[in-house]
């Protein structure tokens, strides 16, 4: 495969300005992630120490094999929710290596509100388990939670994908034959009790760990019975009497050592067979991505320049290079895994949609995982395009995206606007993983377009009533819409709401994708099968 030849001029002033802008964004991202991981009020750290508990990040570090990568997911979940009270939604999740096995980890962060489950915590745990199911990743739960955040129970308890889904997902994972281990460091109360109970294996720390449907205060209120935590649901009771937990541990260190030994007994799964060769680093420096990406969603850039800084050897076999050029399709490798790439290089027209639908089916038949690189402002609109059937051709692309059996991974490189997102495997289309870059934006339309549409509607309505609006009145409608849109289409809002699986620094993208591709291959790839393509 030929290398992509970069035509970027790194001495140009636009490159330099972009570089400064995007290194700034990356620094901001790392600072925010660092705070979520490590910055806590002293009283919370003191409380953990009083309780004889380790900082949850320390537990994670001890659990993982030293010197191996950990791909943390949704680090900045809830960063724009609950007045910032629940950084990371009070949960840690990610893919790592334990005793040589690739596993998915979910940990309650007891240094944040005692590990209480906010609505977005539940969403994060459910999503973590969804990823474990889709990628057949064994799960390790590090349990230490105060339970559901009762003030917000209406947003976390009853609906289909609320807390019950955690336990449903655990049961499904078990039914699929994917092992699960729970390590109980703190309390697992009410619903939380089912996490260890539904795990194939469980370890519980003596003195601090406890499992019960109702804690001592609830028992006292319900039946008047006075009972201690240890008697009601402590390590010795559950491991010697009830059989709810399997292994008692003398300390957190002992529990983690046991956990690592248990995981070491799990038979590693057979990976789906795909085309893989020895990896090769890209020929161009990934840091140059900072200078290539523009500073807004309006400025066009060549996605080949981005591809060249992510794929092995910067080698790319472009499919239909002369047709439907606003959607780049082609084969490349990431860490040796062959992948099919669909990358936006402009608006989706009829021909680019058809090309994409065709290429997805080629990759599916060819057992080649798909990478969608989004920078999409939408499908083309206008009389000419409707007459050519842009909706019909877009439907073909969506049908292909929805039906593909090979693993899909989505990366929002700059913008994800409008219906084009559906054609580029947006969140609703079950990509195994979806990541955003810090600069990226997501919304049904751009902020300025939305503000002008909404303002225009109001102006027309007033005119029907025979009134005219002053410039100030129009601005009073437009400006708040613009402001809300700008805030809610930012990558930080997306990731706060778990519309993605995390924000990646562009330079870390290649490694993250390598981990995801490896994980995705735990699941056998089904035969290609599609719905009806509207011809």
């Amino acid at each position: 495969m030929a290398r992509i030849t970069s035509t970027i001029d790194i001495a140009s002033s636009s490159y330099q300005a972009n570089y400064a802008h995007h290194t700034g964004l990356a620094a901001q991202l790392h600072a925010m992630q660092d705070d979520v991981r490590h910055k806590r009020p002293q009283r919370d750290l003191d409380r953990l120490e009083r309780q004889d508990k380790a900082f949850p990040r320390k537990r994670l570090e001890d659990l993982l094999d030293p010197g191996t990568p950990f791909l943390e997911l949704s680090t900045l979940a809830a960063n724009m929710a609950y007045d910032g009270d629940a950084p990371g939604a009070g949960q840690i999740s990610g893919i790592g290596i334990v005793a040589g096995r690739e596993v998915m980890i979910h940990a309650d962060d007891s240094s944040i509100k005692g590990g209480a489950w906010y609505p977005l915590s539940v969403k994060k745990i459910v999503r973590t388990l969804d990823m474990a199911i889709e990628n057949r990743l064994p799960m390790i739960h590090l349990c230490d939670s105060a339970g559901g955040y009762l003030q917000l129970q209406r947003d976390l308890f009853a609906d289909r994908h609320y807390a019950g889904r955690i336990f449903r997902n655990q049961s499904i994972l078990s039914k699929m034959g994917v092992p699960q281990l729970a390590v109980v460091f703190g309390h697992c109360t009410a619903g939380g009790a089912y996490i260890p109970a539904l795990s194939d294996y469980s370890v519980i720390v003596r003195g601090t760990g406890a499992i019960f449907l109702g804690g001592p205060p609830l028992v006292k209120a319900a039946t008047g019975e006075v009972v201690s935590v240890e008697e009601l649901g402590g390590a010795d009771m559950h491991t010697s009497v009830s059989g709810t937990a399997d292994y008692p541990a003398a300390s957190e260190g002992h529990a983690i050592a046991l956990a690592r030994e248990i995981v070491g007994k799990w038979t590693p799964p057979e990976k789906a067979r795909v085309d893989r060769i020895a990896p090769e680093p890209p020929a161009y420096d990934a840091r140059e991505l900072y200078g290539i990406l523009p500073q807004d969603a309006k400025t066009a850039f060549d996605m080949r320049e981005v591809i060249a800084r992510i794929v092995d050897g910067s080698r790319f076999h472009e499919y239909q290079p002369a047709y439907g050029q606003t959607l780049i399709c082609g084969y490349a490798r990431i860490h040796g895994f062959k992948i099919g790439i669909l990358a936006n290089n402009g608006v989706l027209f009829n021909d680019s949609s058809l090309k994409g639908a065709h290429f997805i089916q080629l990759c599916d038949k060819n057992r080649t995982p798909l990478l969608f690189m989004q920078n999409i402002t939408g499908f083309m609109v206008g009389r000419e395009y409707e007459r050519r059937g842009i909706a019909k051709d877009g439907a073909k692309l969506i049908m292909a995206v929805s039906g593909a059996s090979v693993p899909k991974i989505t990366l929002n490189c700059n913008g994800a606007f409008g219906a084009g997102v559906y054609g580029m495997s947006g969140r609703a289309f079950d990509s195994r993983f979806l990541f955003s870059w810090p600069n990226s934006e997501t919304s049904v339309m751009g902020a300025e377009q939305a503000a002008s549409v909404l303002t225009q509607l109001k102006v027309t309505q007033m005119e029907r009533e025979g009134k005219t609006m002053s410039e100030e009145e129009i601005a009073a409608i437009r400006d708040p819409v613009l402001e809300d849109y700008k805030r809610e289409q930012s990558a930080y809002y997306s990731t706060s709401e778990l519309w993605d699986d995390g924000i990646l620094d562009p330079v870390d993208t290649r490694n993250a994708l390598g981990i995801c591709l490896s994980a995705a291959l735990n699941t056998p790839i089904a035969e290609p099968q599609y719905g009806v393509f509207r011809m």
Binding site: D62, P66, G207, T239, G253
Partner: protein, 166 residues
């Protein structure tokens, strides 16, 4: 989680990870490429950061005796579960509970007695079967809860050992 070992009784925490060459030794935040080529009669060549050093080693169980640069070392490996179980102090082994309901036949110890692992502390009778309750570890008796002839329910705490703090 790191491996725990002692070199001449001094505790150390290290980790060996696989690397492209052979292994990478993780120690106190540093990662050093290492490899070991085994020869005959315990003679080996240890390569640390690209520099080769001859050494002789003999292993016996989880202990390795190494002769390196004119000195002899005794390196003992402790698996993580054992290491932390021992470091943990208080354990289930601090209380001896009744495996089933029954009656006490005899009591051989009193609080304050020191006992060795395996010493018979008491004999109980249940379902026409006599069972000897033995000390799970070396220690000192904190309390004996029942006298001969008394009956107890399942899981009753019969004997308690004083918590160890190392």
């Amino acid at each position: 989680m790191l491996h725990h070992l002692t070199i001449d009784d001094m505790p150390h925490s290290i980790w060996l990870s696989r690397s492209e060459e052979e292994y990478c030794l993780h120690h106190e935040g540093r990662a050093i490429p290492v490899s070991l080529t085994q020869g005959t009669a315990g003679r080996c060549s240890l390569c640390i950061g690209g520099v080769k050093h001859p050494l002789t080693m003999v292993s016996s169980g989880d202990t390795v005796f190494v002769h390196f640069k004119g000195n002899a070392y005794n390196i003992a490996f402790s698996d993580a579960v054992t290491f932390f179980a021992q470091a943990g102090g208080g354990s289930a082994d601090d209380v001896i509970t009744a495996p089933m309901p029954g009656a006490v036949v005899s009591v051989n110890v009193a609080s304050g007695d020191s006992v060795n692992e395996g010493d018979v502390l008491a004999i109980i009778e249940s379902m026409k079967l006599e069972t000897a309750l033995k000390a799970p570890r070396n220690g000192i008796i904190e309390a004996v809860s029942y006298e001969p002839g008394q009956t107890f329910e399942r899981d009753a705490v019969l004997v308690k050992l004083v918590l160890e703090d190392d």
